[in-house]
């Protein structure tokens, strides 16, 4: 836990503008030269309820939300006040304060809106006592009153940011710039007035006894603040995607809307359709007709996509689907992250079906692997799935703009031109042997597109002959089936030999112990491994992205090189550990699991603690909300 970092938590009711305020503040911190990482926590309701966003900012790299926080800006839940005087909403105004005290670090700062949170309510919290115990610095401010005076009370966010900047000794220039970008006219003017008055008042009224100040840092290259959903959407655009179809579902909706908003400018087509079966079927239809297409959903919606997914595989129609996990089963916890759909995504759909599954672990990987997903899908004519979760979807981090300065890849992969079709094999009636026996480099038979001359064939979800007629001929069946399945071997070979690894390694290469993780848990594990090594342990980490075809070689080598390993994932049934054992057929006695499934992502300290209890044999029970699943035979 480093002291040179700010973890700012802004809390209020959903609809209070918490998200947009925090986005801007995070950007201001980034512009001032800091690395930032945001974490969103929100309930499944439109207005009201306890919501918060955390921004962790430091002069060094930050890869997770960190542990706890050291600055709380509590706005009060304006939607807890019921205008009709009915007991319907209850009195929850205090919640953004009362529910956020447990994880506030020693020496931390509290700013709360005394315009919304009453003195009596605060008295009930024993705030003074607790503040003394924890050396907290408490600043009650009438943010609501100030905002009301200059415009509308919703602008109390701005007042809160002004107070924050004053308490942290920050300059206001970046914040002002961002406000000018986002607003204009009277609204901008009132906001600027509020910002300045809050800033000046705080400086004048209080003597700062706290040590916390805005950290200092600088960036050598231009930075952009991106969420995982942004990265996936941009990866798709650069991968040549120009068709998306979907049905709204949290958290997948983010990717859907980002692409939808960008498509009119770049010549793409977006369709919001009646259900997820249609969504995936449309993507199949568009891809069949010659456009790089994508669809996606979250667990419940993805369930409906299993039919078109199988159709795409059988007809060898390239396709990219994204699956943004949230806690299940069924509707589960709509706004909470979990890594519980891994097995579902790997095996859904009937028969011996196969698909490619990538699980990016951070923003850069999300962009990179989405590009790759399009490339592989069109090169091998196979559905490719990007599996990620609500955490990666919504968190914002700064990335090098340069990283995105690459040429797009619009190529259609194994698709023939009309010229090439002239040379291709045709049957006696002139039909193109689309699924022919001859042309099958890397187990791929090249395709034609409807409308092309000389390319007529039938694509069917039934088993089919070279020109696509329904066929139950046993020899043909074995040939076609084997070729489709063995595509995974060809892809594995290409990923191992021709492409940079999708897996991420960290820690010390010759360490005794290993921590393996996947997807969005990566960041917390990276930090945990760093801390463990700093405190004298010998640990290294591996974050795996290739789920199917599995990163067999790399995981084997990693597990062979350590005495024991801990597998960290956000689910209750150790699905990823199960996958490793299934794919490798061994190491069952070498792996224990650290599982968390309470709806909140891992904090690095929980992993450190899990490691100490698990592998370093410390004689204590873990206190965090995690579960340890012992290795086989333990």
């Amino acid at each position: 836990m480093s002291d040179d970092e700010l973890i700012w938590r802004i809390a209020g009711g959903s609809g209070d503008g918490i998200d947009s305020t925090s986005q801007n503040f995070a950007k201001a911190l980034m512009r001032s030269g800091l690395d930032v990482f945001t974490h969103r926590h929100y309930p499944s309701r439109i207005r009201g309820g306890h919501t918060y966003v955390e921004i962790r900012a430091a002069g060094h790299e930050v890869q997770s939300r960190g542990d706890g926080y050291n600055f709380l800006l509590s706005l009060g839940d304006s939607f807890a006040r019921n205008p009709q005087e009915e007991a319907y909403y209850g009195n929850e105004e205090i919640k953004p304060l009362s529910e956020n005290l447990d994880d506030l670090r020693e020496g931390g700062i509290i700013v709360y809106d005394e315009g919304l949170i009453s003195e009596e309510d605060v008295a009930d919290l024993d705030l003074e006592e607790r503040a003394e115990e924890n050396n907290w610095h408490v600043f009650p401010m009438d943010l609501r009153g100030l905002a009301k005076e200059h415009g509308r009370e919703v602008m109390r966010n701005t007042a809160g940011v002004g107070v924050t900047a004053a308490l942290l000794d920050m300059e206001l220039d970046h914040i002002e710039d961002l406000m000018s970008d986002a607003m204009s006219g009277d609204v901008l003017e009132s906001n600027l007035e509020i910002l300045h008055e809050a800033y000046e008042t705080t400086k004048a009224e209080y003597e700062f006894e706290h040590d916390l100040r805005a950290p200092e840092g600088s960036h050598e290259t231009e930075q952009a603040l991106l969420s995982g959903s942004n990265a996936i959407a941009y990866g798709a655009i650069d991968g040549g995607c120009r068709f998306i179809s979907g049905y709204p579902m949290t958290p997948w909706t983010d990717v859907f809307t980002i692409l939808t908003q960008n498509f009119p400018d770049i010549g793409g087509v977006s369709e919001q359709v009646e259900d997820e079966i249609a969504a995936a079927a449309l993507a199949v239809g568009a891809s069949h007709a010659g456009v790089k297409a994508m669809s996606g959903s979250s667990g419940g919606g993805f369930a409906l996509m299993s039919e078109p997914l199988g159709l795409a595989e059988m007809t060898e129609t390239p396709l990219v689907l994204v699956e943004s996990m949230r806690a299940g089963p069924s509707t589960g916890m709509p706004t909470k992250p979990e890594q519980g759909d891994l097995e579902f995504v790997l095996y859904t759909s009937q028969g011996d079906s196969s698909r490619v599954v990538f699980a990016p672990g951070n923003i850069e990987e999300a962009y990179e692997q989405t590009r790759l997903a399009f490339d592989i899908a069109w090169e091998y004519q196979i559905p490719t799935i990007i599996i990620y979760d609500q955490k990666l979807s919504g968190e914002n981090t700064n990335v090098d703009v340069e990283f995105f300065d690459r040429e797009p890849e619009p190529g259609l992969g194994a698709t023939l031109t009309e010229e090439e079709l002239k040379e291709a094999a045709h049957d006696a009636s002139g039909k193109f042997e689309r699924f022919g026996y001859d042309d099958n480099e890397k187990n791929v038979s090249k395709r034609s597109l409807p409308g092309q001359k000389g390319g007529r064939y039938l694509a069917t979800g039934n088993e089919h002959s070279p020109v696509g007629h329904i066929s139950e001929d046993p020899d043909n069946r074995v040939y076609q089936m084997t070729r489709r399945i063995e595509k995974l071997d060809s892809i594995r070979e290409e990923l191992d030999e021709e492409r940079p690894s999708n897996q991420t390694y960290f820690g010390e290469e010759d360490a005794e112990y290993g921590i393996i993780t996947w997807g969005s848990s990566q960041g917390a594990v990276v930090e945990a491994v760093q801390r463990l090594n700093e405190s004298g342990h010998s640990v290294k980490g591996l974050s795996v992205s290739d789920m199917m075809p599995f990163a067999e070689q790399e995981v084997t080598e990693f597990l062979e090189s350590v005495d024991e390993a801990m597998v960290v994932e956000m689910n209750a049934t150790a699905q990823f550990r199960g996958l490793i054992q299934k794919e490798l057929g061994r190491f069952g006695d070498k792996m224990t699991s650290l599982l968390k499934y309470n709806g909140n992502p891992f904090e690095p300290a929980e992993i450190v603690e899990g490691y100490e209890v698990n592998l370093a044999d410390e004689d204590r029970e873990p206190t965090a909300q995690v579960r340890i699943e012992p290795a086989a035979g333990d």
């Binding site: 603040l225 087509v269 079966i277 079927a281 962009y367 694509a459 696509g468």
Partner: protein, 311 residues
Amino acid sequence: MSAFNAIGEEREIDRDEFTPGVEPQPTWCPGCGDFGVLKSLKQALPEVGKTPEEVLTVTGIGCSGKLNSYLDTYGFHTIHGRSLPVARAAKLANPELEVIAAGGDGDGYGIGGNHWIHTARENHDITYIVFNNEIFGLTKGQTSPTSPKGHKSKTQPSGSAKTPLRPLSMSLNAGASYIARTAAVNPNQAKEIIAEAIEHDGFAHVDFLTQCPTWNKDARQYVPYIDVQESDDYDFDVTDRREAAEMMYETEDVLNEGTVLTGRYYVDEDRPSYQEEKRAVGELPDQPVAERYFDDDAEWERSYDLLDRHT
């Protein structure tokens, strides 16, 4: 019939071009009404000047789903009930394709009912032919959404308690801009209607009555078929929504009582297709998106250009 092909050469096209020269031969039962659909489609396509390569036929599952196995065009035989979403997207991806979707009454009105309603609502520029034989054929004779009330089958042994669906009225209410019914036993009318449906700019729904001699022995192939437009008894304006609705209602009431009315029920030439509407609001590019991938001069936007708003 002469037509211009994809590269602008004028040439003769006849129905034989749409017949595969080699296997497979249709696996439909002798006397099956599906032969009638295949035949009228093969006749209609040259009539509207389409070459086999300009046409994409998309089918669902069931006996009807095999249509494009016996028809030599580009084809996509999808899964049960899903022909419409696949067809819609193909048309959006490449509006130059002539997209014809086909399915059965179980496939299209049952499992694919949701897609049907929404495709009609949006008025996608595709043709949709539903082989309506009032029975599940390929799964061996179960009650379908259009089976008459009281119909006995293995899944409704005491006679179906369900009122049959009204396909024409449903389509009208959902928003289809061309609605007709024809029958396999009316080959001349069937050919004309299919040709009209293909040429129609918008969602053209043809409820095609086909007999199932194996599982639906009560099939009405022998009852009198009356063309509503050619009969003086049924004088109505096909462009008038209310009159069309009334005619459909009447027709669907008596469908299972002996008389069968066929013909065009509703034709709205004024309603723009979904593709046109989408283009008008800037959601669909003027040039087919599919063609860009083969255009060497196409400029592909990079995400790098989109990052400005995030810096």
